[in-house]
Amino acid sequence: MKSRRALLIALAFLLPNLIGFLVFTFGPILYSLWISLTDWALTRQNDFNEEPVNFIGVENYQRLLVGDESVLFWDYFWNTVFLMLGIPIGIAGSLVLAMMLSTRTTPRRLSRRISLSTLILVVTILASFGTWVVTNPGPRPTDSAEVLSSEEGLGTLTEWQVDRMRSNGTVLLVATLGGMAFMGIAAGSVFFRTVYYLPSLLAGVAMYLLWKALFRPRGGLINAMLGPPLEWLQSAVESTPPWLWYALGITIAGIAALLCLSMVLTGVRKLASGESGITAFVGRLGVVVTLLATGAGLGYTTVQLPAQALLPNGVSNLTADDIASVVLEMGGEAGVSGELLASLAGQIQPDVTPEDAIAQLAPAVTLDTESRLREVVYSRTSATKIGYTAGEGLSPPEWLISSRWAKTAIVIMGVWLGIGGSNMLLYLAGLSNIPPELYEAAAIDGASGWSRFINVTWPQLAPTTFFIVIMSTIGGLQGGFEQAMVMTEGKADTITLTYYLYNVAFEDEFQLGLASAIAWIMFAMIFVMTALNFRVGSQMVND
């Protein structure tokens, strides 16, 4: 038989992959469904003992959705959703970056590019050298023993050393900026594309460790950069009456709301009159939502400013005894011996701020205990402001430590990582596929700027956006595990569904049944979201 032969040949090629596929992809999917209907937990029924696995129907699902696990499940679900808030921002950012990169910024002629980049190189070298000459503190003075005041934390260094470090730093920054400008001119958008793309390529434990360092409340780059603007804001708030800020906040939120209202009304009118399609409307809605969120957030923050900035900071209504009791309580949880606890609690001096108390304990406890301690203390501190530096008013957040900011920190990092990643590349490809005649036609019709974007770019990119949104939601719903594991170890309310699954299946009790049910609920959610995306998306794409 001919077809028999064909089948045999095909199998010879297919089999290596097919077997693996059946055993490690197709089989597990069915197996997982079955596991999710059992009470299988490795601590009870593992390879070593014979206790049978019981079929328990949908009990696992029930426990998760409405039963004893539901509080955790939904808490973690909302955490996951919170992390996904970064997705639309990231996608919008990818689009902006792609449009930026697809616009020609460097001269077209090679000779001009070469001369311009050479010029920049020369300027950079000169500027770096000049900076060095100006800032360089000269040779180390012989009487360099004079130690700086320890206020700035530079206690062990001499003034000369600090000057030299600052000088080196300035030169480094100047050279970096110049070097990038040089590369940007010489290699054009390819250079920028590479620089934007690299973070997403490196997303992983190493990257999260870097960001954990950047997010350190003290000594971290991010808070160092937030410091000056916050200081400025602090002094501004101090020198103006609070009602001004209330008024300003309400005005901002009000203007945003009015703008949104009018945009929605215009959108509805245009949609009803058939002047623009559903694509433009959805795009408009996206803008409205973003605007509304930004306006509300900005307004709320502004209203809050006086309360935050003017309250004396660091005053807690916790006494030393309170903190000591927290230490005892937590130590008990962590399994520290009672003796040690008592001595720890005894170390807390009366009349200290919580931060100082924790700092006193820090050498004696693990980092883990310290941050959990801090978390508990803060959650019991009734002072309205966050922050810890005594008497400084508005202060940068304790990013990964406070439950209030940890998820935001992960979102910020996620946007930074993903904004220049494959989404940007997809948008670049999409943009280059838009026939230039469309822009020409639009230009002849008198469209420019925004209307060209709304009428040409956005609809033409609809399939790309559609693909990106689907992929991002699928990824987003499964995400957050690695970040939380590395950056917060699951503390500060950062546990997502995948992390939850990990905890259930691979820590403590190894409840494979329950974990599989989590996975299938996630699958169902992904399925529903994808289906929704398809409904909206196919309408947009076909528009």
Binding site: S3, A6, I29, M165
Partner: protein, 288 residues
């Protein structure tokens, strides 16, 4: 906005040039914001523990202290070099197996006519929609049954047979004209030869893309190695880094040196193979 290309002949007005300069500056600033964290990483990695926090005030440390790099490797308990080896070993094998098995399967799906082909392929396609977390628990159980738990085989084998790679290569192979195989079969080539001497070389760009992604993905893989490896000697880099961080969380410079080194191989791969990677992603073929 958009591809506002001016026609080449026209002289550009000062307004346009100003706009372009502004755009370039924006691109530069954005680029800087992507670059500075890495620079900071380097600076932190060459600082003393006591000096890391100074960097926000002085940018550079008092003295460049390169000691941290050898220190990462010369540790009594944590064999960082071993993690490196493990990651390369695992990602390398996975890549090799994937390239071979997926390309062969893709050949069967794209070049051969056989009964049931489209049904089997549909089965492959269907699994692409299933999220990865669904597979974790059952695969873990299967791996334990098969005795591959806490073993290189457990790290390598279960992730080496992706439907995704097969799908990707099939799509790529479909773009190769069938008349080439026909010409080869008339020239006297059998299926194996057509596969190895005609289709494989021609599918090279697709295979490279797949290989890069397989390697990078498995180099960075976290969840699976985390649950499948208990032995310290089997830890891959991400797991090792995490352990490293747990033991040395206080020593930021050391951690930065370790994580920086872990980032180097992907960067090199990217810079060398950038052309293929960007193409591969832009074909829309690769998971976003």
């Amino acid at each position: 906005m958009g591809n506002a290309n001016t026609s080449p002949g026209r002289r550009e007005g000062p307004l346009l040039i100003a706009g372009r300069i502004a755009l370039f500056v924006v691109a530069l600033v954005v680029g800087l914001s992507f670059f500075v964290p890495f620079m900071w990483q380097v600076l932190m990695s060459i600082s003393e523990v006591a000096d890391v926090d100074l960097l926000t005030k002085t940018v550079t440390p008092p003295e460049a202290n390169w000691e941290n790099y050898p220190r990462v490797f010369n540790h009594e308990q944590i064999e960082f070099g071993r993690y490196f080896f493990n990651s390369f070993f695992v990602a390398g094998w996975v890549t090799i197996i994937q390239v071979i098995t997926c390309s062969m399967a893709a050949y069967a799906f794209s070049r051969l006519q056989w009964p049931g082909r489209d049904k089997v392929f549909l089965g492959y396609l269907g699994t692409l929609m299933v999220p990865g977390v669904v597979l974790m628990v059952p695969t873990y159980a299967i791996v334990r049954y098969m005795g591959m738990f806490n073993d290189y085989t457990g790290l390598i084998i279960p992730v080496s047979f992706t439907a995704y790679g097969t799908f990707l290569l099939r799509q790529f192979m479909l773009t190769i004209p069938t008349s080439l195989d026909e010409a080869a079969s008339i020239d006297g080539a059998g299926h194996w030869r057509i596969y190895s001497q005609i289709i494989l070389p021609l599918a090279r760009p697709g295979i490279i893309v797949m290989a890069i992604f397989a390697f990078l993905f498995n180099y960075n893989a976290f969840f699976w190695p985390l649950i499948i490896v208990k032995d310290e000697n089997l830890r891959t880099l991400p797991i090792g880094l995490l352990a490293f961080n747990t033991s040395y969380g206080q020593e930021t410079p050391l951690i930065m040196a370790a994580s920086l080194m872990a980032m180097i191989p992907p960067v090199i791969i990217f810079l060398v193979l950038q052309k293929y990677l960007v193409k591969g992603i832009q074909l829309g073929a690769v998971k976003g």
